[in-house]
């Protein structure tokens, strides 16, 4: 089987899911959210199969092409979404998250999957990239949930009884999920950095070489370490943790773009 069949299917299923979640936001019918959830689940399955096929056909280095990166990003984003939304009954987040998953899987469908640089990517490399994207996805989820929190908070304050009022749990609950997903992201990023260092030693004989990406990740890592400390010991609760979470993810985005623009030859730039 061609991986692209599965990649296209997952893009379509994610689009269906997005559509239903957006309609859910408008019409508030629980049925719509159920359809959204199931299409996301099936999309996740096809996405996973697509990624595995790509991995076995082209070798682990295909994960370091644009196609592979977008595919893994969509996959990890949806897995984070499925985990948190079903655990905490946050169907509404689908309307904010699934559009991105759709975009990434569409980009994965159209972008190149042929690696330009030959890289001896082994098992360690796969673990490194997957845990990095799991970390990014968790941070992205927390940032999007922070946006939802801020809207919900505003509606509560302005006495606007919208879909946020009726279909979300409490502010406190949202806040705890935001914090939870930040810690999950932090664990994965830390793990990914550790695995990356091990891998770097294997490839280049050094654990740390001050590559732009490494520096950028270190900055993000310290940012989130700071956020967690502020939340726990600095009493930065409520809206403040939301602002911090959005700030943290913006730094990650800036780093991501910066690294891709600045260092064309770096292993982290996902060039096809």
């Amino acid at each position: 089987m061609e991986p692209k069949v599965f990649i296209y299917t997952s893009a379509v299923l994610y689009a269906v899911s997005t559509l239903h979640y957006l309609l859910y936001l408008i019409f508030r019918k629980n049925k719509l959210a159920v359809v959204g959830l199931y299409s996301a689940r099936f999309g996740f399955l096809t996405n996973l199969i697509g990624a595995l096929l790509l991995l076995f056909k082209g070798g682990a280095q295909t994960l370091f092409t644009p196609k592979g990166a977008f595919l893994i990003f969509a996959l990890t984003l949806v897995s984070v979404f499925l985990y948190f939304s079903t655990k905490h009954r946050l169907s509404l987040t689908g309307a904010f998250l699934m559009p991105w998953a759709t975009l990434f899987s569409v980009l994965a469908s159209v972008s190149s999957g042929v690696p330009k640089v030959e890289l001896p990517v082994g098992f360690v490399g796969v673990i490194h990239i997957v845990s990095a994207f799991l970390g990014y996805s968790a941070f992205m989820f927390s940032a999007l949930l922070s946006v939802i929190y801020l809207i919900f908070e505003r509606h509560l304050k302005k006495k606007k009884f919208s879909v946020f009022f009726f279909k979300l749990p409490s502010l406190t609950k949202l806040e705890s999920v935001i914090y939870h997903s930040i810690t999950v992201g932090f664990v994965f990023i830390t793990f990914s950095m550790f695995v990356g260092a091990v891998w770097s030693e294997e490839l280049f004989g050094t654990y740390w070489s001050w590559h732009p990406k490494q520096v950028a990740t270190l900055i993000s890592w310290f940012t989130y370490a700071g956020i967690i400390h502020l939340y726990l010991y600095g009493n930065w609760k409520g809206k403040r943790i939301c602002y911090l979470s959005i700030l943290g993810f913006s730094i990650i985005l800036l780093n991501f773009l910066g690294v891709n623009l600045l260092s064309k030859k770096d292993v982290h730039s996902f060039k096809g």
């Binding site: 019918k29 509560l156 006495k159 009884f161 406190t172 409520g238 809206k239």
Partner: protein
Amino acid sequence: MGELKLCCLGLSHKTAPVSVREKFAFKGEELERALLKLNSMEGIDECMVLSTCNRVEVYFTTRNSSPFKDPISFLQEFKGATLDEINSFFYRKVDRDAVRHGFYVASSLDSLVVGEPQIVGQFKDAFQTAKELGTVGTVLCRFCETALKVSKRVRTETGISKNAVSISFAAVELARKIFGDLRGTKVAIIGAGEMAELAVKHLITNGASEVFVVNRTLERAQALAREFGGKPFPLTELANVLKLADIVISSTGAPGYVITKEVVEPAVNSRGGKPLFLIDIAVPRDIDPEVDSLDAVYLYDIDDLQQVVEANIRERLREAEVAKEIIEGYVERFLKWLRELEVAPLIAELKKKAEEIRKEVLEKRLPKLGLTPEQEAEVDNITRIIINKLLHQPITSVKRKAVEEESRSQVVQIFREIFGLGKE
């Protein structure tokens, strides 16, 4: 004799004012007498009466061509109603409409406050009373059981009874939108008043752990505090109480603002972004609206709470539409069952007749063949199988046709004629 019909004759808050509803209400022993009287009427097979403060409905099955004749004359006799009254206040529903209406009622879609839960219990009681007196049989039993099942499904699968429709419950619901689980939250009540006290009670049942009672006089505060198991404070201590409480309910008779921005601000600053929920039920208001401009403070006055209630009612009506979709499926299934029930005696008769013919022929012919007992048993089996196979098609067809609206009575008639079955 016509076909069996399930009917409903009733009035509700939608069709009759309270003066009429109370006239026709059946209470306790009167209800039992009424049921027995109704049941003894010739045209009525089964009956039950649902009588609540918002509705009086008679559900019954009949074969009369004018189905409502008997119940109407019953009402005239029993309640001294005039025909005029009955015509202007009562609705008459037959078959599909009656079944659907009954399911709507049991699911609280027809209630004054859509989704209110009492009607389920009242429906259950009405059914129980009728069952004890033996005035309901196969059809109404099944009808009530289905109605109760539907109502349970509607309650669990739709949000029809989810959102609060009273001011004090709306306050609790808002608190839960802010704090989630109310366990461990601290509540302060300033002043006293029925609605405020009710809200505090709801908050306590939902898990609020501490209650601070603030009053102008310490004595009054102490009295109320005993009632809630809380701590009393004089009004002069207000600033300190605000620092401790998560939810503040204010309901004093003071002419001006009791809680101003200057009092709340230091309290909010000491909370580190943790939300503070202020509820102002007093008129004139106790809490300066300026307070709402503070961060992480949610101030709701009585009008805001009223708006929550209205939004919730709209949300319930939305959910009612979902409920109607669920109910429609049950209505269809119930009617199908009812129609098939109608042809059940016909089918039994046909099977009996076939069996009689088979027995008769076998008794006459079998001895002449001189077969061994094993062979005789085999022949017996074979004839049985032939009859079953032969009858299978007509039975399924007549069952199917029985469900269809137009051709129903004709089909039954033709079926009787073709198979030479006795007249009804």
